[in-house]
């Protein structure tokens, strides 16, 4: 797996709180057996109701760094949500905070979710509105976001950060490597042996 240490790209400002995964990808699009094509439906219902939604704004169409608010990705565990964002073109998310399952799903897909303060997010979102092509760099090594004159610190769960930066974010391979220890742990659990004396 690739080491993810820095992400560059232009921004997509969506500074709203409590964006749930039902909004990111409405349930009717979950009737599928692959994740292909989900990108077209990211935020579909929000976009229908808000003609100025950033996902429909040509200025942000090539953006890859999503700027969100508090509790981003709350609600349903559907991995279809980060899959839809990724297939739309999002490579990283900067927000005030993240819901836990969403955060984990993103990490597994190699999409860093980093937290920043509200004033910093406000400043960045405003700057992106003014100049949509400005490049934003998310640096996971120095734990910083940089975009020209704007520079601020970010937070990310250390285990996720180190998994991304060392290329260990595909957990399946690592989990498979532990097979012998898994058997050992399982054999000591009373319910795995039917509670026999």
């Amino acid at each position: 797996m690739q080491n993810i240490t820095q992400i560059f790209g232009s921004g997509v400002p969506l500074l709203l709180d409590d964006i749930d995964t039902d909004r990111i990808i409405p349930a009717r699009f979950l009737r599928c057996v692959t994740f292909d094509g989900l990108g077209d439906h990211a935020f579909e219902d929000d976009r229908l109701q808000d003609k100025s939604h950033p996902f429909d704004d040509a200025r942000f169409r090539h953006g890859s760094v999503l700027i969100g608010g508090r509790n981003f990705g709350c609600g349903s565990s559907r991995e279809h949500a980060p899959q839809a964002l990724m297939r739309w073109g999002i490579k990283a998310i900067i927000a005030e905070s993240f819901a836990e399952i969403f955060f984990g799903n993103c990490t597994t897909l190699g999409i860093p979710c980093v937290a920043a303060s509200r004033p910093d997010l406000d400043r960045l979102a405003k700057a992106v509105e003014e100049n949509p092509t400005r490049v934003i760099t998310i640096d996971l090594l120095s734990k910083q976001v940089r975009s020209d004159e704007i520079v601020f610190g970010i937070e990310i769960l250390e285990s996720a950060r180190s998994s991304l930066t060392t290329g260990n974010w595909d957990f399946l391979g690592q989990l498979l490597d532990g097979a012998t220890s898994v058997k050992q742990t399982a054999s000591q659990l009373p319910y795995m042996t039917g509670f026999k004396a």
Partner: protein, 468 residues
């Protein structure tokens, strides 16, 4: 030294396989539940990588999310739904996984079926590609929702890579007043701690109110932990837990059961257990609670008015204004008397037999208001059968409710049961997100099943205590 670990940490330690490079724990998963919506891509991952299912007997599949609850003839009218059904059937066949399909009397909503069959047991780690897996914490297990890539992880290795959360003890003291249900307790907790108050935490629910609850009520509480941001919530196992599990099809039998029960009870947090945080609420102060907004923390007691905008911080006001606008409500407006178009009783939060009994007690001898569409969707085929044997179906039908087959139905509206346009739905489910019930502009008011029945009868949000 005495062991002061709380239940969560004891169970976590017992299931820890090893530490991974990034610092995560590789955690063994005792029970894995899957359903038709979040599993197909996981099986594709297995096929792409040439992997098999490591412990097929520790995964159970059921179908619930997309199935119609009226006409269930195959193939389904919805071709996409039919394709998902065929996919889970094939995947279970190919990989040797037990499936409770539609023609199996044990089928139902995944979080209702696990406990009902005795698969859910104290002291286990339980995972499912569904955020309401927290339900199973009612038994004193560590149960949480996962994404589809993680479903593949569990299938292939029976383990997950996870970071250990902190644990917050939430004590609810005193006695609930009549007309106040488990649903009101959890809505109250979420209202007070917020939708992201639990991020990074597991919740332990403790105290007199939970001690007195039945297992079904405990499941209602733990179910909505995720709505408060906590990936899992649990209640310590006690005699109520042991009595519930005894005799269920997948529970241990005879002396094995006795040994199991001893082990389960030994896992409970000791009196002097350590926690990362503590919160206490007075149960006698909890009112029948109704959500008015677009997240489950936006709620009020049924006799309160909606909050004033000025009581929120500047940052929060934008979201509150958005919620008022979407719901077409105003600050300081009473919630009581608000007209509804649809009433939905069901879901993994409140689709169990005790929920149907509470609702039927309100519906009995009364009739659904003119213009209101009301439906009752049992959480499982067993719940449905039990309700029929008690005559609840007749009570509901006589009162003008539609009586349906088991499934998720209008909780997330992936099947044909959907709100239309701007309809307002009084719902016993768990999410009032924008568009959640199938219409992109539909509106949801969450409340207890008894409150939903009361709203159906009167055609508007009402205080169930007037009908008790």
């Amino acid at each position: 030294m005495t062991d002061r670990r709380n239940l969560f940490n004891k169970v976590w330690d017992l299931h820890t396989v090893r530490s991974l490079a990034g610092g995560q724990t590789q955690l063994f998963i005792g029970l894995h539940l899957i359903h038709e919506v979040t599993s197909p891509q996981a099986f594709s991952i297995l096929r792409d990588r040439g992997l098999t299912v490591q412990y097929p007997e520790r995964t159970l599949a059921t179908v619930d999310h997309i199935i119609p609850t009226d006409v269930q003839l195959r193939p389904f009218a919805d071709g996409l739904a039919e394709e998902m059904m065929s996919a889970i059937e094939k995947n279970c066949r190919d990989f040797g996984i037990r499936l409770f399909n539609l023609d199996d009397k044990r089928q139902g909503v995944v979080h209702i079926v696990g406990p009902e069959q005795g698969l859910t047991q104290p002291g286990m780690t339980i995972a499912c590609g569904d955020s309401h897996t927290s339900t199973h914490g009612a038994f004193g297990s560590i149960a949480f929702g996962i994404g589809t890539s993680q479903v593949a992880d569990v299938l292939a290795t029976q383990t997950l890579a996870l970071s250990r959360p902190k644990v917050r003890r939430i004590e609810v003291t005193g006695t609930l007043r009549p007309g106040v249900y488990a649903k009101d307790v959890i809505l109250h907790i979420i209202r007070k701690l917020g939708v992201q108050g639990g991020v990074g935490y597991a919740y332990e629910y403790a105290g007199k109110v939970f001690d007195r609850m039945s297992m079904e009520e405990r499941m209602t509480v733990c179910n909505m932990s995720i709505e408060g941001g906590a990936r899992c919530g649990y209640i310590n196992p006690d005699q109520t837990t042991v009595d519930y599990v005894r005799g269920r099809p997948f529970a241990p039998k005879g002396t094995d059961f006795d040994r199991a029960a001893t082990w389960w009870l030994s896992l409970a947090s000791p009196k002097d257990a350590e926690f990362d945080d503590y919160v206490t609420f007075d149960g006698s102060a909890i009112e029948p609670t109704v959500t008015w907004g677009i997240n489950p923390a936006q709620s009020v007691g049924v006799n309160e008015t909606l909050p004033a905008l000025a009581t929120f911080t500047n940052d929060d006001q934008k979201g509150i204004r958005d919620a008022f606008e979407y719901m077409d409500l105003k600050e300081l407006q009473p919630i009581r008397g608000l007209k509804i178009n649809v009433a939905f009783i069901g879901s993994c939060t409140n689709g169990r037999i005790s929920d149907l009994r509470e609702a039927a007690a309100i519906a009995k001898g009364r009739h659904v208001a003119t213009g209101v569409k009301a439906l009752v969707v049992p959480g499982s085929q067993q719940v449905r059968e039990q309700a029929i044997s008690e005559g609840l179906d007749k009570i509901f039908e006589a009162a003008g409710f539609q009586w349906r087959e088991a499934g998720c139905s209008m909780c997330l509206a992936m099947n044909p049961d959907k709100l239309q346009g701007r309809e307002v739905c009084a719902s016993s489910s768990n999410r009032n997100f924008k568009g959640r019930q199938g219409s992109p502009t539909g509106r949801t008011l969450l409340m207890s099943p008894a409150m939903v029945a009361a709203a159906a009868i009167s055609g508007c949000v009402s205080d169930v205590r007037d009908l008790l």
